[in-house]
Symmetry: C2
Subunit: 349 residues, 2 copies
DNA sequence: ATCTCTTTCTAAAACGTTTAAGCGCGATTG
DNA sequence: CAATCGCGCTTAAACGTTTTAGAAAGAGAT
């Protein structure tokens, strides 16, 4: 019925040529010379391999060699442009070293993430790159299971875990100061849950320190947490509340591009204009912020470098054992990109 | 030195319990009952497995079973929001059937794509989903090698190859008509190379037929091909040329979101405004088109369904053999989303 | 005639699974 | 009391590699 066409294996080539599998394997791995295989025999092997359209079976090879040349990558959501870029960077960097990448989206869900880690390990990923939503103790457990891994975008404070992240604190400080310098002082901050993520706490810390630095009052109730899975409704609720007394904010700092999108949408619904009714800044710049109405001031992260660095560190760990090194904890510089979403006048009056 | 901690295998559990690997395997695969394994023994196996933190080695399993539960997915560029969404959809659909996805970006480069296909096959992907840039004969070759695969976004005309694509023709026809109805008649089309892709040729065909349908002149020289790897410069060149006599276009139809972005940028550079100086419409809607200045009229594609359907068809092929069926060639409905980038007045005068 | 050294190649084990075939034994049947 | 059956389990092969250890054969040395 359904004719199962067997793929050609080393054994097939060996049999066809009347030599051993060993020989064929050596030749096709370019170890023919170092094993003193006759040049002519080598040619015959190559020819036959081509003739039979031989393709090595990586599963068998990995099984035997105990390594798969695969990296597992876990991000919150690969359809978010930030992670999509990160994935691409990781893919490119990995493929330079002939590694492949197994992507997965965790949706910021710790359970799902744990399962994904498990699966990736079952699939014998040699190492993991994770934009983790886990807490310290989970990550410690990962260490015990001695899986080589590197965190991206977020990190675990006071831990030896290697990571590559943007300078979320510095970026947020600068971004908030940008608002303050323009004269905007009542600034709310929309963070995203789960809120223990350092990418988020650090942004909040930067925001707070900027206020303090400029002797402005810090009101904890101006920091609002937007749940990852209900962004639009939360933004609507918080925004309408904050824009009227007693808060009457003048500026809004949103912690990621998804919240920014929702904010634009809600403001439009409410017939409110940026920056007339509120100034907006966003952590994480995306292309289209240049073309929105108005263009949005944002902090740009070096996403591509982030991916590259993470791969670099991971592969280094894979090669040279896994002693933690200080220089494997990396903060990348960010950059404020001023655009027109902040007005340019003092509005305290 | 670097202590290699062996992972626990079936054999370890078997030895610890004084039973055979077979038994352990059966129990852990939930085939204990159907193989009449004593309930108590089953419990002991599970307990020991947990105790030793057993994780099955999927490489070994795949090797033995001849299938990896992995789907290979090749797109042009995973950092393009369209493909990122597609990837996410494929990931979700696949994981529902406990398949994993191995993504790769081909950069619209046929050679790279061929290599990726090869690699994915070496890695024993059970099937492939490809947004292909290959030509018919390459795809035929793939068939011969009897790899199950499904094309997405693009298809091969007059071929039995299964595919899932948006109705590029219908969408483009409608989008062009949208312009025409507003009174815009001199419309240029920016396609993207490589231009043999049906996703592109179909869009051109829709554009042309819309003109003919409304008895408007069709000028082939108004169709400009923008190379994938040099979008910005080409757009600048073509745009400046087309906006002045003798062409003096009033409308511009761009074939994907990347070209739209570049167009927005260039127009800004040139101090030109949409729709005052030119009307703009885009095939493929992205979130941010709602918030650009002005919001951009676009054709939305059901990307998520596209991914789902592709997975569905592929998995069906994997299960039920590979006879080509008519209903495995799918065109998905698109939808014009009118926004303010087209003006709303007759401008022929 | 034996020993040793190259050169070229091979046998067999190992990686961790799944699966086809079948074994030992007590209970049931005729 | 022999034959049969079912239960609970095992043996061994197989998947396609890589790798370790060593073999066959001819050449040169003694």
């Amino acid at each position: 019925m359904k004719k199962k066409i067997k793929k050609t294996s080393l054994a097939d080539i060996a049999k066809a040529l009347g030599v051993s599998k060993t020989l064929v394997s050596m030749v096709l791995n370019d170890k023919g010379n170092e094993n003193g295989i006759n040049a002519d025999t080598q040619k015959r092997v190559w020819a036959k391999a081509r003739e039979l359209d031989y393709k090595p079976n990586m599963m068998a090879r990995s099984l035997r060699m105990g390594r798969s040349n695969t990296i597992g990558l876990i991000v919150a959501d690969i359809s978010n442009i930030f992670y999509a870029r990160l994935c691409r960077a990781v893919e490119d960097a990995a493929s330079k070293h002939s590694y492949h990448v197994l992507f997965s989206s965790s949706d910021e869900n710790a359970d799902k993430e744990r399962k994904l880690i498990q699966t990736l390990r079952e699939r014998q990923a040699d190492g993991l790159i994770i934009s983790t939503t886990l807490e310290e103790k989970d990550v410690d457990k990962l260490h015990e299971q001695n899986v080589p891994f590197v965190l991206v975008d977020r990190f675990i404070p006071n831990s030896k875990t290697p990571f590559v992240t943007a300078d979320n604190y510095g970026g947020s400080l600068a971004l908030t100061e940008h608002l303050i310098k323009i004269g905007i002082e009542k600034i709310a901050l929309f963070t995203i849950s789960p809120s223990h993520l350092t990418s988020i706490t650090e942004r909040a810390r930067g925001y707070k320190d900027a206020l303090l630095k400029h002797n402005l009052p810090f009101h904890p109730e101006l920091i609002r947490e937007i749940p990852y899975d209900d962004i639009k409704n939360s933004v609507r609720r918080e925004l309408t509340r904050l824009l009227r007394p007693p808060h009457s904010i003048h500026g809004l700092f949103v912690s990621n591009n998804n919240i920014a999108k929702a904010t634009l949408e809600i403001l439009e619904d409410l017939r409110l204009r940026i920056p007339r009714d509120v100034s907006l800044v966003c952590f994480d710049d995306i292309d289209m912020f240049r073309h929105t109405d108005p263009p949005i001031t944002a902090v740009a992260q070096p996403v591509e470098r982030m991916g590259q660095k993470a791969v670099e560190i991971l592969l280094d760990k894979l090669k040279n054992g896994k002693k933690a090194r200080k220089k494997d904890q990396i903060f990348l510089k960010t950059k404020v990109i001023p655009r027109r979403s902040c007005g340019s006048f003092l509005r305290k009056s």
